[in-house]
């Protein structure tokens, strides 16, 4: 009893704010028809789920690493585009898989390259110079061999071959896969060898760039666990096998159908995000931990580069992404009346409280959001790495003093955060559509959600996303039906610009009352 009173007294500002918010929610719900209200809430949950996927990763990264990853929105967008490629053009995906495997295989052996580069003793000038020359040669090798490598890809400049057209065709069920490009005049053997040699030289030169070459250094011993060699072999052989069996594999993967392809797209988008995240952290962020301004600049720059890269490959125009068949049907039994019926008849909509709900947007996305919420919560609370993350958020130095390699955990958290954003991207693709700027509004939403919830608090990220999603959808709905206000002859209709403005306003009010956000801790 006493502790309850203490809890109430300590958290009265939070409790008061939550009460007011709940009251406002009730008022907002009472102001419209029950059917409208239920749809609006579900839509709000959908927006909240996507926002949460971006915000939670952002907050994990900021909490542990103190890095404001301004490229997070762009990585969300890249997740959507990469997922689109796997989903709509699996043949292109298979084509680029081979060079990626070959390049990655060279980088798996980095410990070996490090060791060899350390062994290279020469004049100081030579030591400084050879990595750069090596990288130039590697870049030239990779450039020519990758250019000669055949990749069947879309052409954003030609309407009939643009990404949007392929999307439309996939939506109508006539998934069109163009004839594969062949090696042509170039010798396949030479091209493959060029890629392997180029990437090995690149990895070796990068390793050479990092060696300090201090004379007093103790002799290093080579530590190359068998898993690295196995990984190298698997990637190399896998890459070549994919090339050799490209045609049957393409037929097989296209034959999977849109449901399995979408599932594959989700996995690939998540994996790409994870890989990109660990790559960015270990190469670009790690040297800058003591210089926060440079981190901001590099992530901001990365975001611009990412957007332009996507525009260069996929073109500037926006396009849609069809939903997988299981959520896209419109048979005679649709809209379905129960979830089971919807799954049986592959309905895209379902009747819920006399209104139509889109299953993909308003059921699947929130469900995934909740699953991720629970999954990350379990990771944080029940696993050792989660324990280290929670401890590291508070005191990195002490965690290191216990003998734990925090840098590895940093890389993992950054990779996981980016992977969550990419997952959000591919999930939002079918409901939002794809555009190179889709990440911008998302990161704004996520930042507002985090400011509301408390920057580094995980439940805060969830609560903030929920508030942002619900508020936006209620404002949109009231923009259609109007709010009856006293002293006004006509109902007040919030205009579209008020939608983002309302969330900022909410953030301002909450931060005025609770400077650390809803769940933030006093510093």
């Amino acid at each position: 009893m006493k502790s309850l009173a203490l809890f109430l007294r300590r958290n009265r500002a939070q409790l008061l704010t939550v009460t007011v918010l709940l009251f406002l929610l009730v008022v907002a719900i009472r102001g419209m028809e029950p059917t409208d209200a239920s749809v609006t809430i579900l839509r709000g949950l959908s927006v909240a789920a996507v926002t949460f996927l971006v915000a939670s990763g952002f907050s994990l990264i900021f909490g542990l690493l103190d890095v404001l990853n301004l490229a997070h929105g762009t990585l969300f967008m890249i997740g959507a585009y990469v997922g689109w490629m796997v989903y709509i053009r699996p043949d292109t995906f298979l084509d680029i898989l081979t060079p990626i495997c070959l390049i990655a295989s060279a980088f798996v052996l980095l410990p070996l390259w490090d060791f060899l580069a350390n062994r290279l003793h020469g004049k100081k000038v030579v030591n400084k110079l050879w990595p750069w020359i090596g990288m130039l040669v590697a870049a030239a090798l990779l450039y020519y061999s990758l250019q000669a490598y055949p990749i069947t890809i879309w052409d954003a400049g030609v309407y009939s071959q643009s990404p949007g057209t392929y999307s439309l065709m996939a939506d109508t069920g006539s998934r069109l896969i163009p004839a594969p490009v062949t090696f042509g005049a170039a010798s396949p053997m030479l091209v493959i060898l060029g890629i392997i040699a180029g990437s090995i030289l690149l990895a070796f030169s990068l390793a050479g760039l990092q060696t300090k070459n201090s004379s007093g250094q103790a002799k290093q011993t080579l530590r190359l666990p068998w898993t690295f060699i196995a990984g190298f072999t698997a990637l190399l052989v896998g890459g070549i096998l994919i090339l050799l069996f490209n045609t049957p594999l393409t037929t097989l993967i296209v034959g999977l159908g849109s449901n399995w392809l979408f599932f594959l797209a989700i996995l690939v988008a998540f994996g790409t995000g994870f890989f990109l995240g660990s790559f960015i952290e270990s190469t670009l962020i790690r040297p800058l931990y003591s210089r926060p301004i440079y981190q901001l600049m590099i992530t901001l720059g990365l975001s611009a580069v990412g957007i332009e890269l996507v525009r260069a490959i996929w073109g500037r125009s926006e396009f849609t992404m069809p939903k997988p068949e299981i959520f896209n049907g419109a048979g005679e039994n649709c809209p379905a009346t129960s979830i089971l019926g919807a799954l049986r008849d592959h309905c895209s909509t379902i009747f819920f409280m006399d209104s139509r709900i889109r299953i993909y947007n308003e059921v699947l996305i929130p469900v995934v959001g909740v699953l991720v919420l629970i999954g990350i919560w379990l990771l944080l609370k029940k696993t050792r790495i989660g324990m280290v993350i929670r401890a590291g958020v508070q005191d990195r130095e002490m965690v290191e003093a216990l003998g734990i390699n925090v840098r590895k955990v940093f890389t993992f958290v950054f990779a996981l955060g980016v992977a969550l954003a990419s997952l959000g991207g591919i999930l939002a693709g079918p409901s939002m559509g794809l555009s190179a700027s889709m990440g911008d509004s998302m990161i704004l939403n996520a930042l507002i959600a985090l400011a509301i919830g408390g920057l580094t608090s995980y439940p805060g990220a969830a609560a903030g996303s929920l508030l942002v999603g619900l508020l936006q959808q209620f404002i949109i709905k009231y923009g259609q039906i109007g709010i009856t206000l006293p002293f006004l002859s006509e109902p007040f209709m919030p205009s579209p610009p008020l939608v983002p403005a309302s969330t900022v306003l909410l953030m301002v009010i909450i931060l005025l009352v609770l400077p650390n956000g809803l769940f933030g801790r006093k510093e």
Binding site: A218, R384, R390, Q394, D395, M398, V399, E400, A401, G403
Partner: protein
Amino acid sequence: MEPILELRNIQTFIGQYHILQGVEFSIPKGRITALLGRNGAGKTTTLKTILGLTPPRTGEVIFEGKPIHEMRSYDIAALGIGFVPEQRSIFRDLSVEENLLIAERKRGDLKKKQDMIFDLFPDLKRLIHLPGTHLSGGQQQMLAIARALVADNRLLLIDEPSEGLAPVIIDQMILAIRKLSVESTILLVEQNFIVASQLAEDYVIIEEGRSLKSGKIADLVNDKQTLQRFLGVA
């Protein structure tokens, strides 16, 4: 006797401040050595330099015959060095049990040690599921020491264990640290000379980033001149 830890001409900078300007001492195995000196003399920085948290610019740190000053701090700690920092650094978001579990270097470390730990600090057993925030200062100090005991540490670096604690609790702490010294070597930073003299056999005095004097603490107790000059104890 063979030293377990040896510092040779350590120079440490924090930012552009030259904090340690030549610290040299060695500590014998299996005993308690007290690092004495006034506020800001560089005692805490010395501990952090040993652990690689503030790596030395020049000089050598030798632990069990192995140079460790170029290693990363987590590798240094993993060699078997436990750290109990001045501000205790209990992880707030972790329960008492998790605060102990996180110090495991091998699975099951805590299981092996928990009887010894709870024997030393019976309070912790009662508090095991409480979050770190709910502990009193004394309990936090016990947890911080217990955390350093979970893994097999042959050297414990303990920074100001008596700071801010009630006399009764200090006595309890002294008892615990004495029990610990049976199994591991302890390097103790202590402002409170009375506490230090009850625990340690050897001492090193640090003044303005330099190690000035070392010897047996029993000799120091009667050396009023040194005590007054370097430690401000009359």
